[in-house]
C-alpha cells in the first residue's frame, strides 16, 4: 500500500473501494511506529481510537450510509490545538498533563467530516521557535536528513506529512511556523488570512498574529482542507466571513496574465545561493505559464523582524501568564509556598525560549517603555501593511523564497537566538499584515534538502493564491522522501 498518496487520492481510492480506511490507518500507524524513533514527529498517538473510528467508517461506507468528506483520513494535529480527551501539551512541562475538555473549532469541523485524529504532533514549546528544537519532549528531525532541523515551530506537522505518518496536518503559523517546516520538509503549507480560520482552541501565543494553517502533500489537499476549516465562528470574535468560497474549484485556472511582484528585500542579502537560483527558476516557470513578474520593493520589511519579536513577545507575556499550575499543569505541591513564591517557582519550568520571550514581552510593555517599543512596533506593522496594500494595487501576488537558507544541523544555532529570529525574515510579513501566504515545495538542493517557494496574496485572496500555487506545483517533479 502506498502511504505517499495525496489526501485527494485517498478520498477517491476509499470511495471506489481500492483501499479500506482501516487498512490505511493501520498501515499509517505501522509507519509511525517504524519511523518515529528517527524523526520524533508525535507527542501523543491516538492509535487505538483511530483504528476503532476507521472500522466504524468502513462499516458506514459498506452500508452506504452518509460519511463525511474526509472519509476517515488520518490527520495529525499540532499539540497546541485542543482535542477533547487527548492531551494538549504545547510541548511544555507546564501543560505536561493537560487534557482540554473541548475540541478546537477546527478539530470539531474535521471530526464532523469524519477525519481521524491520528495523534498530536511536536512543536517548539508554545510554538516559539523556528526549528522544533525547543520542545520539552525533545527535537523533531528532518526526514530528508535526520541530523537536520525540520523547521518550525510546526515541525511535527511538516514531518508527519512529509514522512507519510499522516495525510494532512494542522499547524499554527505565528511568524512562519507552518511555512517553515513545509519548506524544509518538501510539503505544502498555508498561512491563511487572519480571521479566516477560527482560533478557538488554539492555545494563544501571539493572538493578533497567529492563524491555524494546514500542511499537506499537494495544493489540492490544502484547498480541500481549507474548505472544511475556514469560516466564521461565534467562539472567535476575530473570524471573518469568506462568503463560503469553494477553494477546490477552478484550481487549475492558471497564472496567465497574472502579475507577480518579486519582493526585492526577500531575494537578495543573506539568502543562500541555491535558494536564490531556485527562486529565479520558479519565476521563469511562472513567466513561462504567462505570468508577468516584476521586482517590487517593500522596504518596511527591514523592520519586520524587530516589530514581530516585539509584538509577539508582548502578547506572549500576557497570554502565558495564566500558566501558574494552580488549576492544571504538572505535579508540584503547594505546601510551604505563599502564592507569589509558588507561582515564581513553577513558572521556572518554562523552557529557555519561552522564558526569553516572556521576559522581553514584559519589558516592552512595562511603564515608560510601551511607547518606545510596543507602539513603535505597531507603527512599523502598519507601515508594512500599507506598503503591501500599495503593492497589491499593482500586482496579484508576491513571490519570495520561504526560507532564506537550507535546513541546518540540529543544535547548530540553538544558542544564537538572534540568528534564529532572522530566519523568519521572509515569512513574518504575512503574519504582521494578516495576508495569506503559501509555501510550495519547488526543488531539492545539491546537498539533498528541499527548497520551498512562497507566494503571498492580498487579504482573503486564498482562492487566487491556491490557483497560483497549483500552477507552480504543476511545474515540479520532486523525489520521494528518503526515509
Amino acid at each position: 500500500m502506498n502511504l505517499g498518496i495525496s489526501a485527494t487520492e485517498f478520498v477517491s481510492q476509499v470511495r471506489d473501494g481500492t483501499i479500506s480506511v482501516e487498512e490505511f490507518v493501520a498501515k499509517t500507524i505501522e509507519r509511525i511506529q517504524k519511523v518515529e524513533n528517527k524523526v520524533h514527529a508525535y507527542i501523543t498517538l491516538n492509535d487505538k481510537n483511530a483504528l476503532e473510528k476507521a472500522k466504524i467508517i468502513d462499516k458506514k461506507i459498506c452500508a452506504k450510509e452518509k460519511v463525511g468528506s474526509c472519509l476517515g483520513m488520518p490527520i495529525s494535529i499540532k499539540d497546541n490545538i485542543c482535542t477533547a480527551g487527548l492531551k494538549t501539551t504545547c510541548a511544555s512541562k507546564m501543560l505536561e498533563n493537560f487534557i482540554a475538555p473541548y475540541d478546537a473549532t477546527v478539530v470539531s469541523k474535521l471530526k464532523a467530516q469524519d477525519a481521524i485524529i491520528i495523534g498530536k504532533v511536536n512543536l517548539d514549546e508554545f510554538a516559539m521557535g523556528s526549528t522544533t528544537e525547543f520542545s520539552y519532549f525533545g527535537p523533531t528531525k528532518n526526514p530528508w536528513n535526520i541530523e537536520y532541523v525540520p523547521g518550525g515551530s510546526s515541525g511535527g506537522s511538516g514531518v508527519s506529512v512529509s514522512a507519510f505518518e499522516s495525510l494532512i496536518s494542522l499547524g499554527s503559523d505565528t511568524g512562519g511556523s507552518v511555512r517553515s517546516p513545509a519548506s524544509f520538509c518538501s510539503v505544502v503549507g498555508l498561512k491563511p488570512t487572519y480571521g479566516l480560520v477560527s482560533r478557538h482552541g488554539l492555545v494563544s501565543y501571539a493572538n493578533s498574529i497567529e492563524q491555524i494553517g494546514p500542511v499537506a502533500r499537494t495544493v489540492e489537499d490544502i484547498a480541500f482542507i481549507l474548505n472544511i476549516i475556514s469560516g466564521q465562528d461565534v467562539r472567535d470574535n476575530t473570524t471573518i466571513d469568506n462568503g463560503s468560497v469553494d477553494y477546490t474549484r477552478d484550481l487549475d485556472a492558471g497564472v496567465s496574465g497574472r502579475k507577480i511582484g518579486i519582493i526585492t528585500q526577500m531575494t537578495s542579502d543573506g539568502i543562500d545561493k541555491e535558494v536564490v537560483s531556485a527562486t529565479n527558476r520558479a519565476i521563469s516557470k511562472l513567466q513561462g505559464l504567462g505570468a508577468e513578474c516584476t521586482p517590487v520593493s517593500i522596504d518596511a520589511v527591514e523592520h519586520s523582524v524587530a516589530a514581530y519579536y516585539t509584538i509577539a513577545s508582548a502578547e506572549a507575556s500576557s497570554n502565558l501568564a495564566r500558566y501558574d499550575n494552580l488549576r492544571y499543569g504538572f505535579d508540584f505541591g503547594i505546601e510551604g509556598y505563599e502564592f507569589k513564591a509558588y507561582v515564581s517557582k513553577v513558572r521556572g519550568n518554562f523552557g529557555p525560549e519561552v522564558t526569553r520571550r516572556m521576559l522581553l514581552g514584559a519589558f516592552v510593555l512595562s511603564a515608560g517603555y510601551y511607547g518606545k517599543y510596543y507602539l513603535k512596533a505597531q507603527k512599523a506593522r502598519a507601515k508594512i501593511k500599507s506598503q503591501l496594500d500599495e503593492a497589491f494595487k499593482k500586482v496579484d501576488f508576491l513571490i519570495a523564497p520561504t526560507m532564506p537558507i537550507l535546513p541546518f544541523k540540529i543544535g547548530e544555532k540553538i544558542d544564537d537566538p538572534l540568528t534564529l529570529y532572522l530566519l523568519d525574515i521572509n515569512t513574518i510579513t504575512a503574519n504582521l499584515s494578516g495576508i495569506p501566504a503559501i509555501s510550495v515545495p519547488f526543488d531539492i538542493s545539491s546537498s539533498g534538502f528541499p527548497i520551498g517557494i512562497q507566494l503571498l496574496a492580498n487579504t482573503l485572496q486564498e482562492k487566487e493564491l491556491l490557483q497560483a500555487a497549483y500552477a507552480l506545483q504543476e511545474t515540479t517533479n520532486l523525489p520521494e522522501v528518503p526515509i
Binding site: I81, C82, T88, C90, L95, F98, A100, P101, Y102, A104, R199, H200, G201, L202, V203, S204, N207, S208, V234, R235, D236, N237, T238, A314, E315, S317, S318, A321, R322, D324, L326, R327, Y328, F339, K340, V343, A362, L365, S366, A367, Y370, Y374, L375
Partner: protein, 468 residues
C-alpha cells in the same frame, strides 16, 4: 480643604450571561465553582466572546452620568498575578492611549454640587477568595470562580466631594440610578462596591479600599479626615498610600505599600475587535432611558409648586420620589413632599434603613390628609410617623393608641386654658398690654396638650379670655 474622589464598581446584575461567555451573570447561590466554563476560567485555547448587551448597559450608565461615548470602544488587558484572576490578567478598558472606554468626561449635579465623572469602563469581575479564618493569618485560601467574568462597570469620579455626606448622597443617587435604568440590582450583596481616595489640606492622597457597604464608606471617610487632620495638626505629613477599612475595628489600616508600585503592563485585548457605537445605537439607548433626575425635579416645581430645594432633594432619591409618586394627589402634593423631606428622610437616610421602613404610600397619604383636614396637628403627625415607620400600624390605630387626637373641643380646651392662665398670671397681665405675649400662652397650652390642641381654636379662646 478636603477632597474626595470615588471608584465605584457596579455589577450589571440584570444581564443573563457573563461578559465573555454564556455562564450566568447571576453567580450567587450556586455551589462553588459550578457556574464556570473554559472561557471564564481561562483554559488554554479559550477566547472571549463579547456580550454585546453588556456594552449597551454600560453605555446607558455613561449616558445617565452625562459621559461622552466614543465611536469606537476597545478592551485592554491589565496584567497582574492574583489567585482570583484565572488568566492572570483582567480584561478591562484603558484610556491612556486615547479615549476608548465606554464613557468619559461626564458630570452630574447633585443638590447643587457638580460631580465630574472621569471615566466609566466595562470589565470582568474576578473570582472570589474565601479565607479560612482572617485574611491576615489564614493558611488556606479557597477560590470560587463562579463570579469570574461577571460584567462590571467601574465609575471613576474626579475628587469633587468635600464631605462624606455628599458622598453618601451621591452614592444613594447612583444606586437609584443603576436600578432605575435597569442595569443592576444595587441591593444584591457585592453588586455595588466603592473605594475612595481622600486628601485633607495640602496632604497626600490616601486610597481607601475594602469597604463593605455604603454606610461604611461614610464612616471610613470620617475616620480618614480625622486621622489626616490630626496628623497635619501635629505637622506630621500624611503618607500617600492605600489603606484598608477594618470593619471590625472601624478604622483604616495601612496596606503593604508594594501594591501601589504595581505595573499593570496594559496591552490591547486583540481577541475582541473594536466595537463601533454609532449615533443610531446611542439614540436607541437614549429612548430607553427613564425620566432623568433633572426632568423630575422640574416637573415637581412646575406642577405642584414645590420649592426648588425640596424638589431637588426629593428628585435625587429614587426611593422617596417613588414613594411621593404613589402617595400624593393634586391637592396634597406639596405637603407630602414636605413630610418626606423634612421628617421621613431624617428617620431613614441609608439604603439599609429604607429597606426596614414599614411605611406604605397609603400611610403617608392618610397622614397628610389628616394633618390638612386638621384631624391631627403637624406635630402629632411627626409622632405618628415615627410610630408607623417602626410598626407599620394604620394611622387610626396609631392616633388612638398614642392618644394623638386633636383637642378641638372648646369645653376641654377652655379648662386647660384656665389652668394655664392660673399658672401664668404674670404672662396674662402682660398679654393684655402686648399682643406678642399671646403666643407665649398659646405655646404653654400646646405643651400641656402635647401639641394636640388645635392652634386656631386655642388662639381664639385665649384672646376671648384676655379681653373679657
Amino acid at each position: 480643604m478636603t477632597k474626595i474622589g470615588l471608584e465605584i464598581h457596579c455589577q450589571l446584575t440584570k444581564l443573563e450571561s457573563k461578559l465573555f461567555c454564556k455562564c450566568k451573570a447571576d453567580y450567587r447561590n450556586h455551589p462553588p465553582n459550578s457556574n464556570i466554563c473554559p472561557i471564564c476560567v481561562g483554559l488554554p485555547g479559550s477566547l472571549p466572546m463579547l456580550n454585546k448587551k453588556a456594552v449597551e448597559k454600560a453605555a446607558m450608565i455613561s449616558l445617565a452620568l452625562g459621559c461622552k461615548i466614543p465611536e469606537k470602544i476597545s478592551f485592554f488587558r491589565k496584567n497582574y498575578f492574583y489567585p482570583d484572576l484565572p488568566k492572570n490578567f483582567q480584561i478591562t478598558q484603558y484610556n491612556a492611549y486615547g479615549p476608548t472606554s465606554i464613557g468619559s468626561e461626564g458630570r452630574v449635579e447633585i443638590q447643587n454640587n457638580e460631580i465630574r465623572i472621569r471615566r466609566i469602563q466595562l470589565e470582568e469581575d474576578p473570582g472570589r477568595l474565601i479565607y479560612e479564618g482572617s485574611s491576615e493569618k489564614t493558611l488556606i485560601t479557597l477560590v470560587d470562580y463562579n463570579r469570574a467574568g461577571t460584567p462590571l462597570v467601574e465609575i471613576v469620579t474626579e475628587p469633587d466631594f468635600e464631605t462624606p455626606k455628599q458622598v453618601r448622597i451621591f452614592l444613594n443617587v447612583l444606586s437609584d440610578l443603576v436600578e432605575n435604568i435597569g442595569v443592576s440590582d444595587p441591593y444584591l450583596e457585592g453588586a455595588l462596591r466603592v473605594d475612595g481616595n481622600i486628601s485633607v489640606g495640602d496632604g497626600n492622597r490616601v486610597e481607601i479600599k475594602n469597604v463593605g457597604s455604603f454606610r461604611d464608606i461614610e464612616k471610613a471617610l470620617h475616620f480618614e479626615i480625622t486621622r489626616q487632620q490630626s496628623l497635619l495638626g501635629r505637622n506630621i505629613p500624611v503618607q500617600g498610600e492605600t489603606r484598608h477599612w477594618d470593619e471590625a475595628r472601624k478604622i483604616t489600616v495601612s496596606s503593604r505599600s508594594k501594591e501601589e508600585e504595581q505595573d499593570y503592563r496594559y496591552i490591547p485585548e486583540v481577541d475582541i475587535p473594536v466595537v463601533i457605537i454609532d449615533a443610531i445605537t446611542i439614540a436607541t439607548l437614549q429612548r430607553q432611558m427613564p425620566e432623568s433626575i433633572v426632568a423630575r425635579k422640574e416637573s415637581y416645581v412646575k406642577k405642584y409648586g414645590i420649592s426648588t430645594q425640596v424638589a431637588d432633594v426629593l428628585a435625587s432619591d429614587k426611593f422617596y420620589s417613588d414613594l411621593f409618586e404613589k402617595a400624593h394627589n393634586e391637592a396634597n402634593a406639596k405637603e407630602v413632599a414636605n413630610i418626606i423631606t423634612t421628617d421621613l428622610m431624617g428617620f431613614a437616610d441609608t439604603r439599609e434603613k429604607k429597606i426596614e421602613l414599614k411605611l406604605t404610600a397609603k400611610h403617608l397619604s392618610d397622614l397628610v390628609d389628616a394633618i390638612m383636614s386638621n384631624k391631627i396637628t403637624r406635630n402629632s403627625g411627626k409622632i405618628a410617623l415615627q410610630e408607623i415607620v417602626k410598626t407599620g400600624k394604620s394611622l387610626s390605630e396609631v392616633i388612638s393608641s398614642l392618644d394623638l387626637g386633636h383637642v378641638k373641643d372648646e369645653g376641654s380646651l377652655e379648662k386647660i386654658i384656665d389652668e394655664v392662665f392660673k399658672e401664668e398670671q404674670k404672662a396674662v397681665s402682660e398679654a393684655k398690654q402686648n399682643d406678642d405675649a399671646v403666643n407665649y400662652l398659646v405655646g404653654k397650652v400646646m405643651r400641656k396638650t402635647k401639641g394636640k390642641a388645635d392652634p386656631s381654636t386655642t388662639i381664639e379662646i385665649v384672646r376671648k379670655k384676655l379681653s373679657s
